[in-house]
């Protein structure tokens, strides 16, 4: 019988939730890395027991953790006795060494002045679709790094940060983060990323050159609402069978592109609010998408104090509220951009975590919900692995 493993990153550690394919009885392990902020935990689609975690702290900086046994044990890559000595006899310990290529340069600061690029943390880890040793990291201040040795060392794909528009990128409320990395399953050279607040970008040559793909976005909070960059894209998502179709939850507006991001159109339709953070796609229905509307950019809780996931079976515009099992009164939690995921069972399971520490699951594609856990630290990220 299939199993699911839910990887949860929180403000104070990581938790791993496991269940069989019925998704009714859950085991909870953790906290792993107790007390540290765990921005993201994600497993390799090639080797599900290979899991990468971004462990971070304002005090002690970035740490990369890796598990090779499905999350039972963890280590900082490159720290085994055989790996500790570099040719000059000094230890490597470089799994947390994220250094920008060349002179980092400047980007736009909140007040419109230029500000130096400064590495702060890894927001998102995206393991390759083909090689468990290859993993991408989206970081703050916005840049894309990759490791081809299982996280022991990292190099920047600097063509992105060095794009001509770089000095116009600016931080959103959460910092200037590269938070979304989508790998095209049909074209190894094509990668999509999203940055707050710069927008979406695409490479068609494996990361050497990049182009902004923000045509059709409209953002009233920047001087030119239709500018090439400067948009606060909160999340983009794709279905693996249709990599040319992208869905976006922007700061405000839910958007859709059917030409690999070359152009976007709004599909917010009848949502009660088109502000929100996550967006995801059903595992088996490429036109079924999910968002969690939030009241506004200053009031980060659900409209009318009711936690509702909205599902569209038409790829946007027509949305239905999913409420069964979710709190429908006095609810003031938020759902962050990396905190929603889907499994690939049938029916498809949907998962999301809240800033109130609940992780909800729906084993019936959103029709009904139950909390797996209710009282974790604030949830930053949720990823699901479907295991044989």
């Amino acid at each position: 019988m299939s199993k699911v493993r839910v990887l949860v990153g929180t403000r104070k550690g990581a938790f791993i939730l496991t269940a069989d394919g019925a998704r009714k009885r859950w085991k909870v392990s953790g906290p792993h890395f107790a007390g540290w902020e765990i921005y993201h935990v994600k497993g390799s689609p090639v080797d599900p027991n290979r899991i990468y975690a971004s462990q971070t702290s304002a005090w002690f900086g970035q740490v990369i953790q890796r598990s090779d046994d499905g999350g039972k044990t963890w280590h900082t890559p490159g720290s085994s006795p055989d790996e500790l000595k570099s040719p000059d006899g000094m230890p490597k310990g470089e799994s947390n060494k994220f250094v920008y290529d060349g002179i980092p340069g400047t980007h736009q600061w909140y007040d419109g002045t230029q500000h130096p690029w400064e590495f702060k943390r890894v927001w998102h880890l995206e393991p390759s679709l083909h090689d468990p040793e290859h993993v991408y990291a989206g970081v703050e201040d916005a840049a894309l790094f990759q490791s081809k040795d299982g996280g022991k060392s990292w190099n920047e794909l600097s063509g992105l940060r060095q794009h001509d528009t770089g000095p116009k990128w600016q931080p959103g409320a959460g910092g200037m983060c590269l938070h979304t990395i989508l790998l095209d399953p049909q074209d190894q050279k094509r990668i999509f990323v999203a940055i707050s607040a710069a927008g979406a970008f695409r490479t068609d040559d494996g990361g050497t050159t990049w182009k902004p793909i923000n045509h059709g976005l409209h953002s009233e909070y920047i001087p030119d609402p239709a500018a090439e960059v400067g948009h606060c894209v909160h999340r983009i998502a794709m279905h693996s069978s249709r990599p040319n179709t992208l869905f976006m939850q922007k700061h405000w507006d839910v958007m859709r592109s059917d030409d690999s991001g070359n152009s976007w159109r709004e599909v917010s339709g009848n949502l009660p609010s088109d502000f929100g953070f996550p967006i995801d796609v059903h595992a088996h229905e490429p036109e079924t998408i999910y968002v969690v509307p939030i009241k506004s950019d200053s009031e980060h809780y659900p409209p009318n104090r009711r936690l509702r996931v909205y599902r569209s079976r038409t790829g946007g515009n027509e949305w239905e509220a999913l409420t069964k099992g979710l709190p429908q009164r006095n609810c003031y939690v938020n759902v962050l951009r990396d905190a929603m995921s889907v499994d690939s069972l049938d029916p498809c399971g949907i998962y999301f975590g809240t800033t109130g520490g609940q992780v909800y699951t729906s084993p019936d594609a959103g029709d009904s919900w139950k909390p797996i856990v209710r009282d974790l630290p604030a949830v930053l990220s949720v990823e699901v692995q479907t295991l044989p």
Binding site: F33, A34, W59, F60, G61, Q62, G93, N96
Partner: protein
């Protein structure tokens, strides 16, 4: 024998309990202690000082014999009590809430 007190998060990361004890061949300074500490525990590299500049991370402090020496030169000799191990070199995460 130099005695080092790590903050709880770094003890967890380095997988040590209590104080760390190590020998420093060179003159006993902040730099020589941190060099030896990182050599013994490579997972601590980058957590106390920057990988490239070797500057102290802003929210990390170094306390010695009841004094905050965070802003002293990393190459200034430390008191004999540290070199002899009668007092520990204390690495602290600055009080900043959280």
């Amino acid at each position: 024998m130099i005695r080092i007190v790590l903050p709880p998060h770094l003890r967890t990361l380095a997988r040590v309990d209590g104080e760390v004890e190590l020998d420093v061949d060179a003159s006993v300074t902040q730099r020589s202690i941190l060099d030896e500490l990182e050599a013994r525990y490579p997972m601590l590299r980058g957590t106390m000082r920057d990988h490239v500049t070797h500057l102290r991370r802003p929210l990390v402090r170094f306390f010695v014999c009841g004094e905050d020496l965070s802003h002293e030169s990393p190459d200034a000799p430390l008191p004999e009590a540290i070199a002899k191990g009668s007092e520990p070199f204390v690495i602290v995460g600055a009080i900043a809430g959280g």
